[in-house]
């Protein structure tokens, strides 16, 4: 199953995006808050200085020689000098009438009292100014007079401070954001880590490894692992059941067939009449047919199943071939067929031993079946890197001149083997096995004259 699963995006990227947007939002909020706070603070400090200056001016007011006089202290103005050389404006009014200063300096909107100075931001001479106004009550000739003084300063210094604050805050904000981003990336990485590890450990398993997953995982992944294990369990059970079914089917089909065949054989020994003998022989042939067919169907099912999850282990092909030949000696001997077996150095391939053995058995079985009595079957192993080729040649009927290629199709039988019991699945099974192992099956007629040759080529390990 190599198809691409439909994805809903990456957890890692989603985490990163969310963390980063969170960090970004927080950074922006932080920047805005700090900026606004600093701005207020800076404004407050300007206001404080202005207020101090104003207080100094008002404190320097007095009645002298029957006249109101304000002896503006030098410090009242010099304290307003700053690095930005802001301009300074002032006005002093007595009972609402202009006394001294800048006559066109705007009056405050809010009423200023003695206790509470009124602060105002306004424009004067085309520049922005911050102004504070306060009043003082004095007594002249027994009646009260109100002294109102305003002092204003341009805001270049403020603007500069604010710019500096903004830059600093932006810098810190960016730094904070970068650090958040790094943390976000690391967090995403470490969160996704366990998932990746689990996936890796499961995919490292062989095709037949149905053990439950026992790796330790974080709490949140426990339900996933549990479901996975349950699934594995169900799969295992299902597979075992399928295998058991196949085995059970085999048993159930074959045992009655065995009984019938055995009894038929006994009966054949006892009857004399030719026609009875012929009938019994037919029966036995038919039983052999069904049993062979059942066997091959079950074999085919097994092969299909195993090639889907091909196990790969080291196999000595030569040894396996020899084993299979030995196993079939008895059957070959029945027809006085002699195996000649030629092998060179051990040849190693990668594959499923059971499937390969099954294939070899099928081929040798075929060879014996289609060989006449007292003939030879040669089994030869040749190596031509990177391939190893096993050739089984018999002296039998050979393959039909036409249609040889279609023999590997299911249930195909040559048009020259009508009298011989066979289901037609043998070569199909062998072909499937060999193909699954990355090899080739070649069928041809024996170059040495009579008979057929079947060669399978497999890649060396």
């Amino acid at each position: 199953m190599n198809g691409m699963l439909k994805g809903t995006g990456s957890i890692r990227w989603r985490l990163i995006t969310q963390l980063l947007s969170g960090a970004a939002i927080l950074t922006i909020i932080l920047i805005l808050i700090v900026r606004s706070f600093s701005q207020q603070l800076a404004e407050q400090s300007q206001d404080n200085i202005l207020n101090a200056s104003l207080t100094a001016i008002l404190d320097a007011s007095s009645i002298q020689q029957g006249e109101l006089t304000v002896d503006i202290p030098y410090s009242a103005f010099s304290m307003l000098s700053n690095l930005s050389n802001d301009r300074v404006f002032y006005r002093i009014d007595q009972d609402g009438a202009f006394l001294t200063g800048y006559a066109d300096l705007p009056k405050p909107k809010l009423r200023a009292t003695t206790d509470t100075p009124a602060f105002m931001t306004s424009t004067y001479q085309d520049i922005e100014i911050r102004m504070v106004t306060a009043t003082r009550l004095l007594a002249l000739e027994g009646r009260p007079i109100e002294l109102q003084a305003s002092i204003a300063q341009s805001r270049n210094g403020q603007a500069k401070t604010l710019a500096e604050i903004s830059n600093m805050v932006m810098l810190f904000g960016s730094g904070f954001f970068v650090i958040s981003a790094i943390i976000a990336l690391l967090a995403a990485q470490s969160t996704v880590g366990p998932l990746k590890r689990l996936a890796a450990s499961v995919s490292r398993r062989g095709p037949h490894d149905l053990r439950p997953v026992t790796a330790s995982v974080p709490e949140e992944m426990a339900p996933l692992v549990q479901s996975l294990n349950q699934f594995i369990q169900r799969l295992d059970t299902s597979l075992t059941r399928s295998e058991d079914f196949i085995a059970e089917a085999a048993h159930r089909v074959r045992t009655p067939l065995a009984t019938v065949r055995a009894q038929a054989e006994i009966t054949l020994r006892r009857v004399d009449k030719d026609e009875n003998r012929a009938t019994l022989k037919e029966m036995i042939r038919a039983i052999d047919d069904s049993s062979r067919a059942a066997g091959q169907l079950l074999d085919h099912a097994m092969v299909t199943f195993r090639t889907d999850h091909l196990e790969r282990s080291k196999i000595d092909l030569g040894a396996l071939a020899r084993e299979t030949v030995d196993r079939l000696q008895a059957v070959a001997a029945l027809k006085d067929i002699v195996f000649s077996y030629a092998e060179i150095d051990p040849t190693q391939i990668f594959g499923d031993a059971i499937l390969i053995q099954n294939a070899l058995q099928n081929l040798l079985d075929n060879a014996i079946k289609y060989s006449p009595m007292e003939s030879d079957i040669s089994v030869e192993l040749t190596v031509e890197t990177p391939w190893v080729t096993l050739s089984i040649c018999d002296q039998g009927l050979g393959f039909p001149k036409t249609g040889a290629e279609s023999l590997t199709e299911r249930f195909a039988r040559g048009n020259n083997v009508a009298g011989i019991v066979g289901s037609g699945l043998g070569l199909t099974i062998v072909d499937e096995v060999i193909q699954a192992h990355g090899g080739n099956l070649i069928i041809s007629n024996n170059p040495n004259g009579v008979g057929a040759c079947v060669s399978i080529s497999l890649p060396l390990s």
Partner: protein, 348 residues
């Protein structure tokens, strides 16, 4: 006959061209004409003595030969009248009255200017981008060598007070200082003195007792000390005194050691300027002449600027540029000060 009328008309025309029909008084006027056929005009209004200032102009014309400079020398109060009240179209305003220049800038009557040259200035050498300092000139006591032949030279104001008290007859009518009512620089020096120490008022009283002579300008005070008309002149511009080669044998220039007020002559570009580009160049020229170490001193007629005056001499009191200078320009404050000063000096 016709030629005469033409001549008169031309002269009148010339006069009217040269002196715009305005109500402030010009003391001297000089034109530094360029040889170019299409000259660019730079109009300077200044309190600086023309002869003293000239090298700065010629130096500028050396690198800007197309510029013709029209120089009008005025008193500091007249300069204020011209720019503040009359809004006369000058390109450059040079004045020794730092407070008045600051007020012009504060009132929005100066153009902002910044360039590579302005970066040469330290923070205390300019106010905003409006007012630029290009000299450091102390307020000194100028004394007649002849009249003080036998007396020890006063080192501090206290010394001077003692000497004047001890020899009233010798010095009656023979002391002089600025009339602060008419001289902007004089007012500046006096108010700064009063701020710094009360010795000023005591000295003022002592001098007032001696029938003090009042002057409009340092030049006149130096002349009279040199010629023997007066023995002591107080708050004389040290730069002028030192520039007077002819008077060197006859005068002592003393920087009082209790404190010496140091004034910075400043330049600004009025908003009424018709040639702001050339004006900017001229400002840069002045700045470089004063502050650039690579500039040749031959073209800079004032005493060399000290970037760190406090380090070399703790008695120096440079006047700081800033809004503080506006305090003594306040109507009420000024009235008070002048009253007190009159009481001390005039002793009616």
């Amino acid at each position: 006959m016709r030629l005469n009328i033409l001549a008169i008309v031309l002269t009148l025309a010339g006069l009217s061209a040269a002196a715009p029909s305005l109500s402030f008084e010009i003391e001297h006027q000089e034109s530094f004409t360029s040889s170019s056929l299409e000259p660019e005009m730079l109009r300077i209004i200044s309190t600086a003595d023309i002869e003293l200032f000239a090298p700065l102009i010629t130096g500028f014309q050396a690198s800007n030969p197309k510029v013709t400079v029209d120089y009008h020398e005025v008193s500091s109060t007249e300069l204020m009248r011209a720019l503040q009240d009359e809004k006369a179209p000058y390109d450059i305003a040079v004045s020794s009255a730092m407070d008045l220049q600051t007020k012009l800038a504060n009132d929005g009557l100066a153009l902002a200017h910044s360039s590579i040259a302005t970066t040469l200035l330290p923070g205390w050498g300019k106010w905003h981008d409006y007012v630029f300092a290009f000299t450091q000139e102390p307020a000194t006591i100028v004394i007649s060598t002849k009249d003080f032949g036998d007396l020890p030279l006063p080192k501090t104001r206290q010394d001077l007070i003692s000497i004047l008290r001890d020899h009233p007859d010798r010095f009656r009518g023979r002391v002089g200082t600025y009339d602060v009512r008419s001289s902007g620089l004089g007012y500046l020096f006096a108010t700064q003195d009063a701020r710094t120490s009360e010795t000023f008022w005591r000295l003022a009283e002592v001098m007032g007792n001696l029938d003090i002579q009042l002057y409009c300008c340092s030049g006149a005070m130096i002349d009279d000390v040199s010629s023997g008309k007066i023995s002591v002149a107080y708050n004389v511009l040290g730069s002028y005194a030192m520039a007077r080669r002819d008077a060197q044998d006859t005068i002592h220039i003393i920087a009082p050691q209790d404190f010496t007020t140091v004034m910075m002559r400043t330049v600004l570009i009025p908003t009424t300027s018709q040639q702001p580009a050339i004006a900017s160049k001229f400002v840069d020229h002045l700045i470089q002449a004063a502050w650039d170490e690579n500039f040749s001193t031959a073209d800079y007629p004032f005493p060399a600027i000290n970037r760190d005056p406090a380090a070399s001499d703790t008695s120096l009191r440079p006047i700081r540029m800033g809004p503080g200078l506006l305090v003594y320009l306040d109507k009420l404050k000024k009235r008070r000060f002048i009253n007190e000063w009159e009481n001390a000096i005039l002793q009616p």
